[in-house]
């Protein structure tokens, strides 16, 4: 029986695209002050990869470009809108050394430098008091 490699190509593109996107969106949004620049790059390369996937004759290349292109278009949304919103809500830690984040810290009371997710699950929900204590302890 012949092996069809298209599924493995699409699996690799999906997993690596999501993983690299997940890590780099957080890192880039945290460090870069003029966020429109990486956003515009993600948008441009996303469209370019979709065009490449449209033009190539190889199904495997077309799959990889198609999936990575869509992933980059999603990263554009993440960089430009979704990740800054998480910082405003305090769900992603703000970087006070980044002037854009410093403005968010000043304007949004829920914004914080705490990384709330940097812990292990304990099996029970946190009370309001516990959440306040964590927030006050690190300030």
């Amino acid at each position: 029986m012949e092996i069809n490699f298209i599924g493995l190509a699409s699996a690799a593109a999906t997993f690596l695209g999501v993983w690299i996107g997940h890590v780099s969106v957080r890192k880039i949004e945290r460090e870069v002050e003029r966020i429109w620049i990486p956003s515009a790059l993600a948008l441009t390369f996303g469209i370019a990869l979709e065009l490449a996937s449209f033009r190539t004759g190889s199904l495997i290349l077309s799959t990889i470009c198609g999936i990575l292109g869509i992933t980059l278009l999603w990263d554009w949304l993440e960089l430009a809108y979704r990740q800054p919103k998480r910082v405003m809500k305090g769900h992603a830690p703000a970087n006070p050394g980044n002037s854009r984040h410093a403005q968010i810290l000043a304007a949004y009371p829920d914004a914080t430098t705490i990384d709330w997710l940097d812990r292990d699950p304990r099996g029970t929900p946190f009370s309001e008091d516990e959440l306040h204590a964590i927030k006050d302890g690190t300030k």
């Binding site: 092996i3 069809n4 190539t56 709330w116």
Partner: protein
């Protein structure tokens, strides 16, 4: 003109979107200790895809496998989000087989 990659790419977007749903719901009702099962299911789907002759089905099975694999690494963080009150929390979780053993393993988080 090759529509294959774009169609697979857009379908993958929906498969990943579905990933958000099952990770959130799955963690709420079953708990994050199911992660090795999600990981195993993802790998099985990828292996099955290699013997599928229809290229669209093959590509989408691969993407579903990768999405399950990624979801398995998200379950632990989702458990924390639930405990922090960012998502509804349920005390009664349907534990997986061998939960006691899995508890001793370090849950992946990428």
């Amino acid at each position: 003109m090759n529509w294959f990659g774009i169609l697979v790419g857009i379908s993958t977007l929906f498969i990943i979107g579905l990933g958000f749903v099952w990770v959130i719901r799955g963690e709420r009702y079953f708990g994050y200790l199911w992660w090795p099962y999600a990981m195993g299911a993802g790998i099985i789907l990828m292996v099955i895809s290699t013997s599928v002759t229809n290229d669209y089905v093959c590509a989408l099975l691969g993407a579903m496998g990768a999405s399950l694999l990624w979801g398995s690494t998200e379950l632990k963080e989702q458990a924390i989000r639930g405990e922090l009150g960012w998502y509804p929390f349920r005390h009664e979780k349907i534990q997986p087989p061998f939960a006691k053993i899995i508890q001793k393993w370090k849950a992946p988080s990428l």
